[in-house]
Symmetry: C2
Subunit: 300 residues, 2 copies
């Protein structure tokens, strides 16, 4: 029996709202710019009310949100956006505002944990219990499932902000992260590439040296993730990953960095099937939100 | 009702065998040098047979093993030591030899995952579901629980082999890891300290600059673990961590590296209770093995 669920892909630039089924079929969808919280949330609520009249009530709504967000169910600020540079959004009770506006159970998580959940539910990660979803675009973000559930722990992962070796004699760019300078995001995000090479990533041809350096940093990040989390697979999404030449470069560099130490056929023999594109493509974000609505969790 | 369980702390230098209760009480214990697999396993089996006559049969035996080990329950070499530099031990079916010798269910895991499990069962991690246990000694090893269960995924974590920034102008030592050179273990293990400073760590006074550098590398490793796994607490054990001055230095450096980005009171306000000594001290290893025997898992 199919069930109606709702999803909000809450990004810093745009909100996508959808109503769909627990089979991952989208029945209605809308997208609008992220302005101030009051206006943006009101638009989302208006969308879901209209769809309720048309399709019926959603059993739950999932919010796949930009972060950082408070995901501790015991915290008084559970479901709040915490400290974001996005003007007006710090301290916004996103979870509570949607729940109170629609009177429906809400399940909120990071956009990357949600995308991982969608890959597990409707993509190619069905048989996995421990894997990572890394997105490389305006920022670098990572999430995933460990032992069959999204990683939360203390807060949620911030995989883009790991420190990796950076040799200033080979790459004098100091990094673009306002917090950490040359963390992974500061070295390898889209804006970092643009600042270093004075061109947007999509304008750089596949034979530009930018891509070898980019693959090097991302491979350093992935090798560390492999040593720390031991994922069964790694999905790489986001705008920067649209450059096809990156995948083979990254795979080769990860193998080279690990030097045979992690004894697993997935890495030693089948790296092409280990570091892969998400199967859900451009729909990954909103399907992530719908997947959250389908998943057992804390309803607040 | 208490139950008898057995444990083997299988280290590269020594084996510790114990019979105890599921309350973590040790009733009998023996230790001997790790020689060749045949001889060492025979000594372990002899110990458990003698204790069976004296105390009764253990319901299960846990093996907290040096690694790498194959922990994939579907693998034909499940429970084997895979590629270790330890002479004679590569390809040893440790799990099978003990199981066949004693005809009892075996639960095997890495020494660090097992130590984490003991902290969860009998130490100070009872209320946590996601935390890390890092040991700094002859090597650097990390394990832990995520979502309430030990991290396995593809294989098991190898946290000592993450790459961290290394500035050769400040620290010209090239690193001691035979695989990766200046990975975390290569820069911060006991042997790495000894090679860099020409003195064993325990001979270096607390005001020696070695400790500031050591804290810096370990803090880089921990900051990356925090960004990747989001642990609720980090336990630091092992011989190198016996130097008391290290804890405050590491805590301050972790806070400094994260720059307020991870918004959690545990890090921003209560770091002294966040990066801590294991509560089980010198018994952590063998209690880890007993904790494995008490834990539901694959019996092979």
């Amino acid at each position: 029996m199919t069930q109606l669920v709702g999803g909000i892909e809450a990004g810093g630039t745009k909100f996508v709202c959808a109503v769909g089924t627990d089979a991952g079929e989208i029945l209605a969808q809308d997208r609008f710019r992220t302005t101030m919280p009051g206006e943006t949330v009101a638009q989302a609520i208006k969308f879901f009310r209209a769809q309720e009249d048309r399709l019926g009530a959603a059993a739950a709504i999932g919010i796949a949100s930009f972060g950082p967000i408070d995901l501790d169910p015991r915290s008084p600020t559970y479901g709040f956006i915490t400290t974001t540079p996005k003007a007006g959004w710090s301290g916004t009770d996103l979870n509570g505002r949607i729940r109170d506006g629609l009177n429906v159970p809400i399940r909120i998580d990071t956009d990357v944990n949600a995308a991982a959940l969608a890959e597990w539910r409707w993509g190619s990660a069905k048989t996995l219990d421990t894997f990572v979803y890394l997105t490389v675009g305006t920022g670098v973000g990572g999430g995933g499932l460990v032992n069959g559930r999204p990683i939360h722990g203390l807060v949620h992962p911030e995989m883009g902000h790991v420190r990796v070796p950076h040799d200033p004699s080979a790459d004098p760019f100091l990094g673009s992260c306002p917090f950490h300078g040359d963390c992974l995001e500061g070295l390898a995000s889209g804006p970092a590439m643009e600042k270093r090479w004075h061109a947007r990533p999509e304008a750089l041809p596949p034979d530009h040296p930018a891509w070898i350096l980019e693959a090097h940093y991302l491979a350093l990040g992935l090798a560390n993730i492999i040593c720390t989390l031991s994922p069964q697979r790694i999905f790489l999404g986001g705008g920067v990953m649209q450059q096809d030449c990156l995948f083979p470069l990254i795979r080769a560099e990860v193998v080279s960095l690990l030097k045979g130490y992690v004894q697993a056929p997935a890495i030693l023999e089948e790296i092409d099937a280990y570091i892969v594109r998400p199967t859900l493509g451009a729909q990954a974000g909103i399907l992530g939100a719908l997947a959250l609505a389908c998943s057992p969790g804390e309803d607040r």
